[in-house]
């Protein structure tokens, strides 16, 4: 019985191929949109989490000024002594690294590449989770003397050296040359889409003396120990810095402490809300698709009134006719769901690679979308099917 209803349903779909296709288009688009949105949202969340993890966990980033990035010009930079004070006076820290940076064009042989040169100490590598693939960190003497040595990121290596080995070579930065002593392991793209590997790291004193011409630093990296309470450490650092920067009680901080974990949470929750919102919009198109199915099922019931009459005359029960038409609606919507899933999978893979987020296949969302689509078939197919089941066989047989 069920099998026959299914066969009849498939035959009807095939018989009106174009119409069936147009009918299910709404469901196809709805399922496609829901799955694509959710998949890309998941991918973006994962990408952000992964990128923030490469920044180093439990990392506090201190910048002068209230806003992150440019616009902090009127707030004074940090002093080197600030870094020392934090290191000495706050408990539970694993590394404190002061840093100063400057955009500089690096030149090697005939190639040049504009990059960010960061002057800092070895603690920077620990705080931000950088590892070396080749070479070594700075020696104590190099740091103290501010020697012209540098450790470069993967992007800088590939732009300047191509297939050559960089360690031991000398690159020119502005007016001085600098020996490459190490190569950083690639981290990939950053949370904001910037290339994290586009860096040159030098001893802080070298950058201060040769590039910024100042003894101040514009960033402090503070890595908090695994067992310490990050929020309390943040408060302690803020209190210490307020004292050191002579901020009156009523004034606001003129510096900012960013917490990577917090950034990650904010970004992922933003993405989650966006995903939910877009998914909801997409779900509306599923509903519209359902109405399309209802419409065509009503047409189908009218067109096939005589068929229904014949079936009733030979002994079909009302509920058997109902079942047949519901199954037809479900076959249509499930077909739409299946096509939508295939298109969404292909589309998500393409879009994910275009947007540089990982493609995360989620069987659950596919199953959910599919059963939601099939459910829409049941709901929107029920009304037309009930109309078919309640037809008077005599009237139906007389129908032209």
């Amino acid at each position: 019985m069920l099998r026959n209803a299914l066969l009849v349903a498939l035959r009807e779909v095939r018989r009106n191929l174009l119409r069936s296709f147009l009918t299910i288009l709404g469901i196809v688009i709805g399922v496609w949109a829901v799955i694509t949105m959710v998949t890309l949202g998941r991918g973006a969340t994962r990408a952000v989490s992964a990128q923030i993890a490469t920044l180093g966990s439990n990392l506090l980033l201190m910048r002068p000024g209230q806003r992150f990035g440019p616009g902090s010009a009127n707030a004074p930079n940090f002093k080197l002594a600030d870094a020392a004070a934090i290191r000495d006076q706050i408990g539970g820290l694993s590394a404190v690294a002061p840093a100063a940076n400057r955009v500089v064009t690096a030149v090697y042989a005939a190639r040049n590449w504009s990059t960010v040169v960061t002057g800092t100490s070895n603690a920077y590598f620990d705080a931000t989770g950088w590892n070396l693939v080749r070479g070594r960190r700075f020696a104590e003497g190099e740091l103290r003397a501010g020697k012209a040595v540098c450790i470069i990121g993967e992007t800088v290596r590939s732009k300047l050296f191509g297939s050559e080995s960089p360690v031991g070579s000398r690159i020119r930065l502005k007016q001085f040359s600098c020996t490459v002593i190490g190569l950083l392991r690639a981290k990939g793209q950053g949370a904001m889409g910037m290339d994290q590997d586009d860096v040159v790291v030098m001893p802080l004193r070298a950058v201060q003396r040769r590039l910024t011409g100042s003894v101040d630093v514009n960033t402090l990296f503070v890595s908090v120990g695994a067992r310490a309470d990050i929020d309390r450490v943040k408060q302690q650092i803020a209190a210490l810095m307020r004292t050191r920067r002579h901020i009156a009680d009523k004034e606001e901080d003129d510096f900012r402490i960013l917490d990577t974990r917090q950034i990650a949470e904010t970004m992922t929750s933003t993405i989650r809300i966006m995903t939910l919102l877009l998914g909801a919009v997409a779900a509306v198109s599923l509903l519209v698709g359902g109405i399309g199915i209802m419409n065509i099922m009503l047409v189908s019931v009218t067109e096939r009134t005589r068929e229904i009459g014949i079936r009733l005359a030979v002994g079909a029960l009302g509920r058997e006719v109902l079942l047949q038409f519901v199954i037809e609606a479900v076959v249509l919507s499930a077909l739409g769901g299946a096509i939508g899933i295939v298109l969404a999978t292909l589309g998500s893979i393409a879009l994910a690679s275009a947007m540089h987020v990982p493609y995360v296949f989620d069987a659950r969302i596919c199953a959910l979308a599919f059963f939601f689509a099939a459910g829409i078939g049941v709901i929107f197919g029920y009304f037309p099917a009930r109309r078919a089941a309640r037809l008077d066989p005599i009237e139906a047989l007389r129908h032209e």
């Binding site: 019985m1 018989r15 005359a313 030979v314």
Partner: protein
């Protein structure tokens, strides 16, 4: 009336049927008494509007009387629910219509199988029975053809095959030759009469052609919602040989 058949297959007792209500009410049947014994071939005749189609719908359990009794093998059909009447049609009745009423774009064989699907017969048994029924109407070679590829006479024969595939207790034919030319009409009538004679199928046929009614063993004439003439009243119910 049913002296030689104590248990008629079908009986209508004082059946009336009124459509609509109040002043616009239309009485299609105004008190019909009719007994049909197993094995009979009854032709119901009468001008249009005489109530013969209404009576046919009631006999076919497609409709219920407004008042009176409709007994099928002693069961009060007028007391049954819509579902119960559908089951009665499924298990005991066969229909042949004037307009054939085959499923379009469906092969002859599948059309004949249709009633068996609702009887939930397994596929192979269904196939075999449908082929046998098609053989009985001489259309085995046309089993894969769709109604649109068959002539009117062939379509009606497929419809007859569909009606007899279930071995019904009662076969109802509503103007089975109404859409056919005279030669095809006689072929169809010979087929129906043969089924009645050889298989003992009880047949009730509505027709307005006296020529076709001659194939029946008994004729009943309707006029204005009443039985005007019944052969059985004059010389008793006839039995097939």
């Amino acid at each position: 009336m049913s002296s030689d058949a104590p248990q008629p297959l079908v009986a209508l007792r004082g059946v009336t049927k009124t459509y609509g209500e109040g002043a616009s009410a239309l009485s299609a049947l105004r008190g019909i008494d009719l007994d049909i014994a197993p094995g009979e071939f009854v032709a119901i005749m009468g001008p249009s509007g005489s109530g013969k189609s209404t009576a046919m719908n009631i006999l076919g359990c497609l409709d219920t009387p407004t008042s009176g009794e409709h007994l099928f093998q002693g069961v009060h059909v007028e007391r049954l629910s819509r579902t119960q009447r559908a089951l009665l049609r499924r298990h005991y009745l066969g229909f042949v219509f004037q307009g054939y009423n085959l499923l379009a774009r469906t092969s002859a064989l599948e059309n004949v199988e249709l009633p068996l699907i609702y009887r939930r017969w397994p596929r192979t048994r269904r196939r075999a029975a449908a082929l046998e029924a098609l053989a009985a109407v001489g259309l085995v070679d046309w089993r894969a053809h769709r109604p649109s590829e068959l002539s009117g006479g062939q379509q009606q024969r497929v419809a007859i095959a569909r009606a007899i595939v279930t071995d019904p207790e009662l076969l109802l034919a509503d103007e089975p030759t109404g859409n056919l030319d005279s030669q095809r009409s006689h072929e169809i009538m010979a087929l129906l009469a043969g089924l009645n004679r050889e298989r003992g199928v009880t047949l009730v046929m509505v027709t307005h052609e006296a020529e076709m009614a001659r194939y029946a063993s008994r004729s009943v004439r309707f006029r204005d919602g009443l039985v005007e003439h019944d052969d059985a009243a004059s010389h008793g119910g006839e039995q097939a040989a």
